[in-house]
């Protein structure tokens, strides 16, 4: 990254768990499944690796078994390293750490890890944004502008509903953040925070220790918002495609957008691939009578029915004469013969028996929990 500038990546796996509560019942936001074979954390993690960041800490809080299982040693992201590499940082890592309420407290709990890194900068990222972003120019801009903090944002038209789960910046003509609105009551054209921040490591350490002594825990509220005049917070505009997952509705839409070739071409770049855990499934098999249109199908699927406008994760089975439309079918779900499934999200390992009929609506897809039998 940017010459010899060393950057430490810090990913918050549990931030925003609450916004897709159905999906995070048994997992972290970072391990929510997305796009046929990915988990949300694959995006920030791959982006960091592709930007030359070779040392990443993943901060977890609760429900992290699936996350640990997914990340393992970090090999799939090329992060099983002797120098740097992937570090999983659960709470209670040392005597002073425990359940945390915000990013600052979480960082305080792992402050020794941050301290021991020989990186000059730290990139903080959550797991709620699907995008393919190169962090190199952010570091360049940060150094050039002499900012204390660089915050990544995107221009977007948002609804009242989305604003309730967002942080919106006011930015002046020099690109400096002058205003920070957390969960504002607004809608329309906004500069929305993508929850990615670059900050000098020493400065971050100072802030974290100082805030801990004052019992301040929220990076957004107690640092960005409270000290926006005191610190130089510069904005970095992300121009590429992104999808921010803040509800089951936006989760559904973002998945469906992956069916657009134009969108996929912006996410899955040959030079900056999105990595994920490999499961060694056989190729997908299409039987006699299969009919598949406008869908993403992962390896290990066996399709004997009709699939339209849908996303099938690895190892899904679709029985004869079953019709799946507008749905997200997660890993190892089995759909029986002559089923009719429309506007449905099934979590992992759901079994829908023969002749069942499940219908949600475009605005409110029906969610079926992990391991359910219908």
């Amino acid at each position: 990254m940017a010459g010899k500038t060393k950057v430490l990546g810090m990913i918050f796996a549990n931030m925003h768990d609450i916004s897709v509560v159905e999906l995070t019942k048994e997992r972290t936001m970072g391990s929510v499944l997305f796009g046929g074979r990915y988990r949300m954390i694959d995006f920030p993690l791959s982006n960091m690796v592709n930007s030359g960041i070779g040392e990443v800490g993943v901060i977890t809080k609760s429900n992290y078994q699936s996350l640990l299982d997914h990340l393992g040693s970090g090999r799939e992201w090329d992060l099983a390293r002797k120098q740097g590499g992937l570090h999983l940082l659960p709470p209670f890592g040392h005597v002073d750490s425990g359940m945390y309420r915000g990013r600052l407290e979480a960082l305080y709990g792992v402050i020794n890890f941050v301290k021991n890194s020989d990186a000059e900068y730290v990139l903080l990222s959550d797991c709620d944004v699907i995008t393919n972003i190169d962090y190199t120019p952010i570091v360049e801009q940060h150094i050039k502008t002499g900012a204390d903090i660089t915050a990544v944002y995107a221009k977007s038209v948002i609804t009242m509903e989305q604003a309730k789960n967002s942080t919106v910046f006011g930015i002046n003509e020099e690109g400096r953040v002058t205003d920070v609105l957390i969960r504002p009551q607004i809608s329309g054209d906004c500069d929305v925070s993508l929850n990615m921040f670059l900050i000098k490591k020493d400065f971050l350490q100072d802030i974290v220790l100082e805030c801990a002594s004052k019992s301040l825990y929220s990076f957004e509220k107690d640092v960005l918002q409270a000290r926006v005049k005191e610190y130089t917070v510069m904005a970095y505009k992300h121009e590429g495609y992104y999808a921010k997952i803040d509800s089951i509705d936006t989760y559904y839409k973002a998945n469906m957008e992956m069916l657009s070739t134009e969108t996929r071409d912006k996410i899955f770049l040959e030079k900056r691939p999105i990595y994920t855990k490999i499961r060694d499934n056989a190729p997908a098999k299409y039987g006699i009578g299969a009919s598949v249109k406008n869908s993403l199908i992962a390896d290990g699927c066996i399709v004997e029915g009709t699939v339209e406008n849908s996303i099938l994760f690895r190892g899904v089975k679709v029985g004869k004469d079953a019709v799946i439309k507008n749905s997200i079918i997660m890993q190892n779900t089995v759909i029986g013969k002559k089923c009719d499934v429309n506007y449905v999200i099934t979590d992992k390992s759901v079994e829908i028996q023969d002749f069942r009929n499940l219908t949600g609506s475009q605005y409110y897809p029906l969610y079926v929990g992990k391991g359910a039998k219908i």
Partner: protein, 400 residues
């Protein structure tokens, strides 16, 4: 310090595979793609780790670049071990000079030191050109139970097939009494599958004796097995009933791929208890477009299909444009089939571009002279220009 291993596998992967013509111009046969996301060598390597054999020497010689890259440190097969693991073993120079592997037996002979490091009781000899799922631990148990010096896996074949294979003549206890290579009048229908287990001490001595006898072929089938038989060693046949195919020719490679689409053929790649592992490129899921029509096919990740696909095997990263048709064919990784092209009864190698409205191969019923029909093959990294017609049975090795 090396940990003792009960059994070490030696995988013969140095063969050229000249009967695969265009497909093995620049890669060894075991590296040839098979089954939608695999390479042939994935099968013996996965069988090893699934059978509990974690030390595998892979003997390479012909065009090893792709193969060596592919095996790497053996990680995809869980063969990156502190003790044991996968080791690529190309020929090397010694104080006495350098020589190529002169045959299957000589290849093992030259690597006696490699095997000795693990001080194994048994060695299993495998070849890198067969598609099958087999539990070698069962064969090893059989070898021990029979108190054999060598055990050869055999499969029941038809009398006609027997004339083209190495045939074992056995007594009622499966003891091998005689051995015939491609007999005109077979005395048995038990064909050798090219899978051997030897008691290492015995084999080690036979390899040394074979090397010291300049008159002899340096080959298992031609020298080691007959020598052991003549000396009265205990050789037994291990009958194997599962799916097993040699994929040494274009036709057999094509057929073995098509077998995956036949529900009556017992080769299940979806069995979670016996996974076949491979090194994959970590691509997004396959996208099937609105104008696509796919039936009876296997398709892998990263493929984008907007055309028609029927009875075909499509590898990772393949693009099939709208209006293109692929039938009864195998399209290897990264190739592009442009709009309006028709590919029938063909194997298209890796990273090829088949131009718009080109025609590759044809159905058998469309030709009058049946002898001129066969599977058409396009080698790797080639471009077939727009509207070009490639006849059945043709082997394309340069851009046309």
């Amino acid at each position: 310090m090396y940990t003792k291993k009960e059994c070490v596998a030696m995988l013969l992967a140095g063969g050229q595979g000249s009967r695969l013509y265009a497909l093995t111009q620049d890669m060894a046969k075991p590296a040839v793609s098979y089954g939608g996301k695999y390479r042939i060598i994935d099968f013996p390597l996965s069988n090893c780790i699934n059978s509990g054999i974690d030390t595998v020497g892979v003997l390479t010689q012909y065009q090893p670049l792709v193969l060596h890259d592919y095996i790497g440190n053996g990680q995809p097969w869980d063969l990156d071990k502190i003790h044991g693991g996968a080791h690529a073993l190309p020929p090397f120079q010694t104080a006495l000079g350098a020589q190529w592997y002169k045959g299957t037996a000589n290849a093992i002979y030259q690597n006696i030191n490699f095997v000795d490091r693990y001080d194994p009781d048994y060695v299993v000899i495998l070849s890198g050109d067969h598609i099958y799922k087999m539990d070698y631990s069962k064969m090893l148990a059989y070898h021990k139970e029979k108190n054999a010096d060598a055990t050869i896996a055999v499969q029941e074949v038809t009398l006609e097939e027997a004339t083209r294979l190495g045939i074992m003549i056995c007594d009622e206890n499966m003891g091998i009494t005689d051995f015939e290579e491609k007999p005109a009048k077979p005395r048995s229908t038990l064909a050798s599958m090219g899978i051997y287990i030897f008691t290492w001490k015995k084999l080690r001595q036979y390899l040394i004796d074979n090397e010291n006898n300049p008159e002899e072929d340096k080959d298992f089938g031609k020298a080691i097995i007959p020598n052991m038989l003549n000396a009265g060693e205990k050789l037994v046949a291990y009958p194997f009933e599962g799916y097993w195919r040699d994929v040494g020719t274009i036709d057999s490679l094509w057929e073995a791929n098509m077998d995956l689409l036949n529900p009556n053929i017992p080769l299940d790649l979806y069995d979670p208890d016996w996974k076949i592992y491979s090194r994959t490129a970590n691509m997004p899921p396959q996208y099937v477009g609105s104008s696509a029509k796919i039936e009876n096919s296997m398709i892998s990740e990263g493929a984008v299909v907007n055309g028609n696909v029927d009875f075909s095997i499509i590898f990772p990263g393949v693009t099939i444009e709208a209006g293109a048709t692929v039938r009864d064919s195998i399209i290897m990784p990264g190739s592009v089939i442009k709009a309006g092209a028709v590919v029938e009864y063909a194997i298209v190698g890796e990273e090829c571009v088949i131009g718009e409205y080109a025609t590759i191969g044809a159905r058998p019923e469309s030709v009058t002279d049946k002898d001129s029909w066969g599977v058409a093959v396009i080698g790797h990294n080639l471009t077939v220009s727009e509207g070009k017609k490639i006849a059945p049975k043709e082997n394309v090795t340069e851009n046309v």
